[in-house]
């Protein structure tokens, strides 16, 4: 269950990186906001994906 949750959250972080770029392209996000969101979402991916990978390895 926890593994599933980590998988979903890490993929959501990665998707957020991409979505922020698309929103910036469409003019809904300023350049600064896009870069901050991208940075935070990237940090989220690294933390969550590392935990997910650890769970997968244990399983």
């Amino acid at each position: 269950m926890q593994k599933m949750l980590l998988a979903v959250l890490s993929l959501a972080s990665l998707s957020l990186c991409l979505i922020s770029a698309i929103l910036h392209f469409l003019g809904h996000l300023s350049n600064e906001s896009y870069k901050v969101i991208f940075l935070v979402a990237s940090a989220g991916w690294f933390i969550l994906a590392a935990l997910w990978a650890r769970k997968r390895k244990r399983a």
Partner: protein, 453 residues
């Protein structure tokens, strides 16, 4: 002579002992594993440079797309029809199969050549990372035609990064490899997101109605930067095809495909080629056009994705230099048999770091990739001839192994002779490997058939 070579080759054999036996059926892997492996391996730091160079070389948008589509297809077919069938029939790595065909002496030379080429490649990756880290210290990136370092700052920076990568590789190669698995999907996203975010700067409308027009006029506009050679469809197509020449036609990916259930698993290489060697190259082309065609991967990524982009370039360099350093160390271990693992990695790291100071390897990366494939290509032709053509032509296979010889002299003559012939060919460097391959194939068959008589 034989005894002298044996003193080097027997420790080398011990090093590769673990994969001496053909892969057993229970160790075969599913297609998904191959797709994942290729997808992860072909989005590297060098992708930031290669795609950008196509823009600087004045490739047109149409030539770029058709060249990449065709060239990557040829690469996938080379893995599928040349590399994978030999791998699944032998279930051996190229190291052991070449040993049967060319003898331990020639295999030793091949390994040494590989080590030097790996060090140069890892050096280029360190230089790419240095462009990202250098932004923070305002260090000027060397110019496009630079051969030597342009400042003390650049030397110190590449040395610091090279030393850091080497120390980290010594401390935990395995851990970094696992970290690289987490990194690779994100690095791919940095490419895609960075390119999307740069589109407004180039004037692309949110409706995308002028995307093709901008692509043709502002990105791949067909005008080469001053001092850069003009590239066309054939250059792009051949580059995409030979970019991994040592792996497919050169057969070094037998190490991977010996675990495949069927030769058709070669088609899974498309999962590396089309996202990595097509989409990522297109994205880096967009990014370089948006920063005024300045070859500076760190700056490109910073402008495209901020600090995360800088981290992306630095991490892409690190995670791809790490296995390259490992492979170089493994190949170097052949000549330093009693050295511990850390000492070998230190030596490989030192050579790599010194090379990374010289911007020529990074600024002439496209030419270097061509030379890298060209140097190792004749070995692939020799193995192909011995494996497939010798039985058809009734020429005895594996004579070097059967006669317990250290050297297969005709193979060495074909290897060096092909490289000499390629050097003098009056055609562009990118196209030389193809006639060279046939020269190697035919001359090896003739030499061995003549020897039989």
């Amino acid at each position: 002579m034989s005894r002298w070579f044996a003193s080097f080759t027997s420790p080398m054999d011990k090093l590769y002992e673990f994969d001496r036996e053909p892969v057993s059926p229970d160790k075969l892997q599913t297609g998904g594993k191959f797709a994942g492996l290729f997808a992860g391996e072909h989005v590297a730091a060098t992708e930031f440079v290669i795609g950008a160079f196509f823009v600087l070389h004045g490739v047109t948008a149409k030539d770029l797309l058709s060249g990449l589509l065709a060239g990557n297809l040829l690469a996938v077919l080379s893995w599928t029809f040349i590399c994978a069938p030999i791998a699944i029939r032998t279930r051996l790595t190229l190291y052991w199969y070449l040993r049967k065909i060319a003898g331990p002496g020639l295999t030793f030379i091949y390994n040494l050549a590989n080590a030097v080429l790996y060090c140069i490649l890892a050096g280029a990756m360190i230089a790419v990372s240095a462009t990202a880290v250098g932004l923070g210290f305002r260090i000027k990136i060397p110019s496009l035609n630079a051969v030597f370092p342009n400042s003390v700052g650049w030397v110190l920076l590449t040395f610091a990064i090279g030393a850091l990568f080497t120390i980290l590789a010594i401390l935990g190669f395995e851990k970094i490899s696992r970290f690289a698995e987490v990194c690779s999907p994100w690095i791919f996203v940095v490419f895609i997101a960075g390119a999307i975010a740069m589109l407004p700067r180039l004037g692309v409308h949110p409706q995308l109605d002028n995307l093709w027009e901008i692509a043709k006029t502002k990105i791949w506009n067909g005008t080469a930067l001053q001092g850069q050679e003009k590239f066309g469809l054939w250059h792009v197509m051949f580059f995409a095809w030979f970019c991994n020449l040592a792996m497919h036609v050169g057969l070094s990916d037998m190490a991977i495909f010996r675990f495949a259930k069927k030769w058709t698993y070669g088609l899974y290489s498309a999962f590396g080629m089309y996202p990595g060697h097509m989409l990522a190259w297109i994205c880096s082309g967009i990014m370089v056009a948006a920063v005024g065609r300045e070859m500076n991967p760190g700056l490109m990524a910073f402008e495209a994705a901020g600090l995360a982009g800088v981290a992306g370039v630095a991490l892409a360099g690190w995670t791809t230099a790490n296995p390259t350093l490992y492979r170089a160390g493994l190949a170097l271990q052949a000549i330093t048999p009693n050295w511990p693992r850390w000492k070998i990695t230190l030596a490989a790291g030192f050579i790599t770091t010194v090379l990374s100071c010289f911007p020529v390897f990074f600024m002439k990366l496209l030419d270097y990739v061509a030379i890298y494939g060209l140097v190792l290509m004749p070995i692939g032709a020799i193995v192909f001839a011995e494996h497939w053509l010798f039985p058809l032509l009734r020429i005895e296979q594996y004579r070097t192994e059967k006669k317990n010889r250290v050297f297969n002299w005709p193979a060495l003559a074909v290897w060096t002779g092909t490289l000499v012939a390629c050097f003098f060919m009056p055609i562009h460097l990118y196209f030389r490997w193809l006639p060279g391959y046939f020269i190697a194939l035919i001359s090896y068959i003739i030499l061995q058939a003549f020897r039989r008589k």
